[in-house]
């Protein structure tokens, strides 16, 4: 697989709950009436401004280990290389919502539409994760079509900047994947532009290979520990 994935905007519109979390509203609370209105407004703006696109490219094990090594700044002991070693298939990926939505967020801030700007930022953050979910699914479907995996196979994604994979790993990832084909460029600080973009590796394999505990030294610096949430969701899958 080495292709650009077309993604429909309507497929990446996030649900209220995922946006609430990004706005710092606990799920046990309800959005106020005002906040609810802003959310609906932000979602409408998002539908007009987001232009999602994705790109996926298969990568052999050895090539991935080289990409992962990056510029040798990774934490000493990290889970991803081990997970990858047990994978059935690997691919690098990137998704973006395009520049317009980012520009719109800035424009709203500048015009003092502060709550709407912030809400649109959260909608876009949740939206780009949905775009990555879609790319994950497409990759799995392609493997199913090829017949290289079975029903037990799952795909999970891991990104530079998380789980001990140093963000400088973006450099080699970009060299291999070439996400400029969907308009993503990498700055010297390894920041992707447009900002609402996600990149990483898709790892296909049995559920068990993705299970690890959050007790690595770098886990103490992680605010979300979302890996465990993702693992739980994985185990809950039928």
């Amino acid at each position: 697989m080495n292709e650009i994935i077309e993604i429909s905007t309507s497929d990446v519109v996030p649900v209220e709950k995922s946006v609430m979390l990004l706005q710092g509203i606990p799920l046990s609370e309800r959005m106020s009436k005002n906040a609810e209105q802003i959310f609906l407004h932000a979602r409408d703006v998002f539908k007009k401004c987001a232009h999602p696109a994705g790109i996926v490219k298969d990568i052999p094990q050895k090539a991935f280990q080289d990409v992962y090594k990056g510029q040798s700044f990774n934490a000493e002991n990290t889970p991803v290389p081990e997970i990858a070693l047990h994978a059935d298939d690997l691919a690098l990926f990137a998704v973006t919502l395009g520049r317009v939505v980012h520009d719109k967020i800035n424009e709203l801030f500048e015009s003092k539409e502060l709550a709407l700007a912030s809400m649109l930022d959260s909608v876009a953050s949740a939206g780009v994760e949905k775009a990555a979910d879609i790319v994950e699914t497409k990759f799995l479907e392609s493997l199913m079509t090829k017949g290289t995996v079975d029903k037990e196979t799952v795909v999970m994604r891991y990104s530079p900047g998380y789980c001990g994979w140093h963000v400088s790993g973006q450099r080699k990832l970009f060299e291999y994947l070439k996400p400029s084909r969907i308009g993503i460029v990498l700055r010297d600080s390894f920041l992707m532009e447009p900002l609402k973009s996600v990149s990483g590796v898709l790892i296909a394999g049995k559920k068990e290979i993705h299970i690890f505990e959050d007790n690595y030294p770098f886990c103490s610096e992680c605010e979300t520990h979302s890996c465990q949430e993702r693992i739980r969701a994985l185990l809950d899958r039928a």
Binding site: Q23, A115, S118, D121, V167, S189, E193, E221
Partner: protein
């Protein structure tokens, strides 16, 4: 005066029109612009800050209130310029070089203005030298720096070191914020404070500026 209290309440409701109308009404009643600012708008934003801290309200309500405050400020601003009413201390703020994430920095700037500080927002991707130069030029009391990447965090240290080199570190305080930084990191690089969110950042800036 009840109308001042009404401003505070309207602000908390994020009611821009009402805030604007009340500010005009108070000015017509010859209430001093500084009193409208301090006892109406800033008092209201202080309540917002407290409620946010106590998780009674969340980010959207804070930002709606901030927008309403700006509406009130728009009415007051020409009078401030004429009367030269001083604000609290000046804060130079920006996202450090190499980083273009600015939502967090924008929120801090909004809350600082809401608390009555004069904010010089340098935007994003700001070189270390510019933070220092502008702070000196503007006679700022505090430099606020934001970073969202581990790779751009070291730029904060560079600002702190530049201040030290010019022996300005006691005079111009520094506060840092952003997802990858922490109170430990602030201590490590010699920054004066770490703000974990916009309200906390305002509290720290208040502390830093009353210490000096």
């Amino acid at each position: 005066m009840d109308l001042l209290q009404d401003i505070s309440v309207a602000l908390q409701d994020g009611n821009c029109e009402k805030v604007e109308a009340l500010v005009r009404q108070l000015l017509s009643a010859k209430v001093l612009p500084k009193d409208v600012l301090d006892k109406g708008l800033i008092a209201g934003m202080n309540v917002i800050g407290e409620k946010y801290k106590n998780h009674e309200i969340f980010l959207p309500e804070v930002l709606l209130a901030a927008k309403a405050m700006y509406k009130g400020m728009d009415v007051l601003r020409p009078l401030f310029l004429k009367d030269e009413i001083p604000t609290l201390c000046k804060v130079v703020i920006g996202t450090v070089q190499g980083d273009i994430h600015d939502i967090g920095k924008n929120l801090v700037a909004i809350m600082l203005r809401g608390a009555g500080f004069d904010v010089v927002d340098l935007g994003k991707d700001v070189p270390a030298e510019k933070f220092v130069e502008v702070a000196v030029q503007e006679k700022a009391s505090v430099i606020g720096m934001s970073a969202l990447l581990t790779t751009t965090m070291p730029a904060m240290k560079e600002v702190v070191e530049r201040l030290k080199k010019r022996r300005l570190d006691g005079k111009i305080k520094t506060i840092i914020g952003g997802a990858p930084v922490s109170a430990d990191y602030a201590r490590h690089i010699g920054a004066d404070a770490y703000g974990y969110d916009s309200v906390n950042a305002v509290e720290w800036v208040k502390k830093l500026t009353t210490q000096s």
